[in-house]
């Protein structure tokens, strides 16, 4: 890329200034970004804070050349640029680490880093040796510990993320966009990432940090820009309090803490003993797990995504093929039962991916509400279904669960994430339950819906149902759990009380036993800083205008 070389010669390293002016991006009638202005100063960590669906990722995809802005302009060092594709953005010194990694699992690290920027010998033959050398160089400078010849699919997510960062650095990125980089990391990996960001900043790289996690944004930022519904609603300094940032982000005051009674655990009616699950590829994904859940308590299963939590819940439901051990609900063995029998035994289940496993997108809300009961009274007689009964049921539940929809005959796929999740909850909580399992119950939801879902879960607990929550979000675990089971590589690292500190949980999530984790000296956590507020609010009217929209979605 000769153009790239001449470009960087015209530029002093570490002084790239990036300006977005009046960026608007529309998809049909949807305005994802509405006249957004943003200035990223050289050597600065600039956070973009906003809820899921606020338009952060869209904005960054515009900046990275993946989308073309409907209106507005991008300036690099004061000069207007027009990116026809990511290639142009990279040539201008912008690198991006996407929320979902853009790595090819079956390629090695070196191949992934080389891709699109390949060094070649005569005849277009790949010369990976140069790339390997560059990877080792960068890896040594920042302490990444990345082996250039490892297959990416064999690497833990944290390391994969470093490969993504290397990819950007090899291309001489001076502005690095990190899109929700902590979503897949353990708390310790998050701390390491924050260190890496500090080092990059010290070397003159500016960083745009995108997140909806207030704690992290406060810990890393020089400047915070808050986006809501596609608009910039204000800027804040990192010293602003969490509550202030939250209300700016959501557009109304929010109580960050769920009000709930102390749990009153009853009889232990759900018992899992030495549960083992083997996946179809031969990996033992759940490896000898034992625990109990009592009536009226919430057991949260914490852990980094992919450590067997999914398979654990699926094994209870009867969705896994190779299961050994024992799962007993009120004395009844569930292992070896069909899904239908398990549901009939009184298990309610909210799957982690509602659009794939929880709902049938093109079906109506009414139909989705009875997916588990459509074939029996009162919704059916013999072979016929009773549309009127089903519709009445749906209307009642839509009211009870506050599902915002045009009508019960709308296809569920057209609803927002929060409303979809309410439909799943409404269905699962309609039957009398003896066990309630919710996997990632609030993933991708807005704050209003999160509050609603959490309240319903606690209500179910208070009704005396044993509840299991699987979550990778420690905030959610801390909010709901009466006890926390930490899972790592298919094993339980221990079961700890609800109030256990994040440090201990983080170490356990990284594979340390409960005792060892507690014995570790804990430094003052870098994220727990507070201070006086400095919030400059740009759009106060808009914020107040939205206050009554409780529970509504973007």
């Amino acid at each position: 890329m000769p153009a790239r070389l001449t470009h960087s010669k015209n530029r002093l390293v570490g002084v790239l200034k990036l300006e977005l002016e009046g960026i608007t991006k529309r998809f049909g009638s949807l305005v994802a970004n509405d006249h957004i202005d943003l200035v990223v100063e050289p050597g600065q960590i600039h956070s973009l804070l906003g809820e899921n669906g606020a338009g952060k990722s869209t904005l960054m995809n515009v900046l990275y050349g993946l989308y073309h802005p409907t209106e507005g302009r991008i300036l690099v060092d004061g000069k207007q640029v027009s990116f026809k594709g990511p290639g142009d953005a990279m040539a201008a010194g912008i690198g991006m680490v996407h929320q979902h990694f853009m790595l090819i699992p079956v390629f090695t690290v070196a191949e992934n880093v080389a891709l699109g920027n390949e060094a070649t010998r005569a005849g277009g033959m790949l010369d990976l040796e140069k790339t390997r050398r560059r990877i080792r160089e960068i890896s040594d400078r920042y302490g990444f510990h990345v082996d250039p010849d490892a297959l990416v699919e064999d690497l833990p997510v944290g390391v994969q993320q470093r490969v993504e960062i290397i990819k950007a650095l090899v291309r001489d990125a001076e502005v690095l966009i990190l899109d929700e980089p902590t979503a897949v990391l353990t708390p310790q990996e998050t701390d390491e990432l924050i260190d890496i960001m500090a080092q990059l900043k010290a070397n003159g790289t500016s960083i745009v940090f995108i997140s909806h996690k207030l704690r992290e944004v406060k810990a890393v930022s020089d400047v915070i820009t808050v986006i809501r519904r596609g608009k910039v609603v204000g800027t804040a300094e990192p010293s602003a309090s969490t509550t202030e940032l939250a209300s700016l982000m959501v557009g109304r005051s929010v109580s960050l803490n769920l009000e709930k009674e102390e749990a009153t655990p009853g009889e232990k009616t759900f018992q899992v003993r030495d549960l083992k699950v083997t996946a179809a590829n031969g990996y033992r994904v759940v490896n000898g797990v034992s625990f109990d859940v009592a009536r009226g308590e919430v057991l949260a299963v914490a852990g980094v995504q992919g450590n067997g939590q999914t398979e654990l819940t699926e094994a209870v439901l009867g969705l896994q093929d190779h299961v050994s051990g024992s799962i007993k609900l009120e004395g009844k063995e569930l292992v070896g039962r069909t899904v239908k029998q398990v549901l009939a035994a009184g298990v309610g289940f909210v799957p982690e991916d509602r659009t794939v496993d929880g709902l049938v997108g093109p079906f109506t809300i009414a139909e989705n509400m009875v997916l588990d009961m459509y074939d029996r009274a009162p919704y059916a007689t013999g072979l016929g279904m009773k549309p009127k009964v089903i519709a009445d049921h749906a209307r009642e539940k839509v009211n009870e669960f506050d599902v915002r929809t045009a009508g019960i005959d709308s296809a569920v796929g057209t609803l927002s994430g929060g409303n979809q999740q309410k439909v799943v909850l409404a269905r699962e909580l309609s039957r009398p339950l003896k066990l309630f399992i919710a996997s990632q119950p609030t993933r991708g939801l807005d704050v209003g819906s999160i509050e609603f879902v959490h309240k319903r879960i606690i209500t179910e607990r208070d009704n005396g149902t044993p509840v299991i929550i699987v979550s990778t979000e420690l905030d959610e675990v801390a909010e709901l759990a009466d006890r926390i089971a930490v899972m790592y590589q298919g094993k339980l690292m221990g079961i700890v009380p609800g109030g256990t500190s994040r440090d201990v949980l983080g170490l356990m999530m990284a594979g340390m036993s409960e005792e060892d984790a507690k014995a570790q000296p804990h430094s003052e956590h870098p994220m727990e800083t507070g201070g006086p507020a400095h919030i400059e609010e740009r759009d106060k009217a808009a914020r107040e205008g939205h206050t009554e929209e409780r529970g509504g979605d973007q």
């Binding site: 594709g85 853009m102 090819i104 891709l115 790949l126 833990p156 990284a510």
Partner: protein, 428 residues
Amino acid sequence: MSAPVLSPQGQAPQLDTVRSWKTPIIYAIFAVVALAGFAFNAPGGTATFGISAGRDVIQLAPVVVPTVPVGWASALIVTAIAVFSFLQIKGGRKDPRWLPIIYAVVFVIGFLVWVVGSAERTDVSLVGLLAGSVTLAVPLIFGSLSGVLSERVGVINIAIEGQLLAGAFAAAVAASISGNVYAGMLAATVAGVLVSVVLAVFSIKYLVNQIIVGVVLNVLVSGLTGFLFSTVLSRDSQTWNSPPSLPVIQIPVLEHIPILGGILFRQTIVGYLMYAAVIIVYIGLFHTKWGLRVRSVGEHPKAADTLGIKVNFTRARNVMLGGAVAGLGGSFYTLVSVSQFTTDMTAGQGYIALAAMIFGRWNPVWAFFAALLFGFATNLRFVLSILGTPVPGEFLAMLPYVVTIVAVAGLVGRSRPPAANGTPYIKG
């Protein structure tokens, strides 16, 4: 279901064996066939295998094999392998990777000895059998390379059949009119590209289901060439349908290597281009910048896009390249094997080529060997019917397809296609 992550310390997750009885069951079924046929039903007498062709400088004496001991030996060995495999699976272990190859080789030897020994003429030229297999495999190999080129960028290529047929037709017509075989080869290549352009446009630009476009194309090409054949070609076959044949080129010295020389080095130019194509596609895919980009587009097009690689352009280019390769392969039918075009003369070989690609795990070299295997099965059928075997002709006709099913479904295990295969890429 995501595979468990490795810990930062790099310790591997525990592997359990999920027992699959598929392989030992297949072994057992064929072992029973071997025992009943080759051993208990051994014809007695001998089977003779010629291992030198008439042209060879070094003439080797034919191998004469007694049918009874060899029949029993092969039957007992495959039975032993079946039992061994059963015990391995029962004990939670995996079969060694070479086991299916040993099994197949022993079974084929047993079968050949039995079938030749019980034929009316009990001698056969092994070299002729193998050389014929290579010849029959040539269009299959071109077809499977077309599949590899296309599916490695994520476009399912069912249209191989249509590309081969279009190539065969165009080669016949162009070579007949011009009187020049090379014009025929060029026309075949162009015809293959034309078919693949339709596939590329509909599947990449208009996002139509790739399998449906492919099947429709096959039917379209079959109908179109059939129509032109009956309305134009057969009316005046002197003008339209009597292409000259490609000359066989013997490579000096190499052709006289005992056994192999006659099999590999007495080919037409299309045959030699086939070897070159396999090597070029292999090196191209796995050792060049082009190949890295091609594979990235088939595995994770979005990632490729974020690195500035033009996904749909790469896809379209490769699909057309595949069309060119398969079209050229199609010319083999009318310029080498038969000197005229007939309706549907590819007879489903495009699908066999697709199977060879899958059996070869989307790798050009392995696809080459898979296609050779299918070529062998096809040729065996021809040779055996000439020898006059007791096996009914209908069963012999099934042979290549039985081998395909057993190979792809039974022995290949779980092969992993490119992750984005069949998924159109929509930006944003």
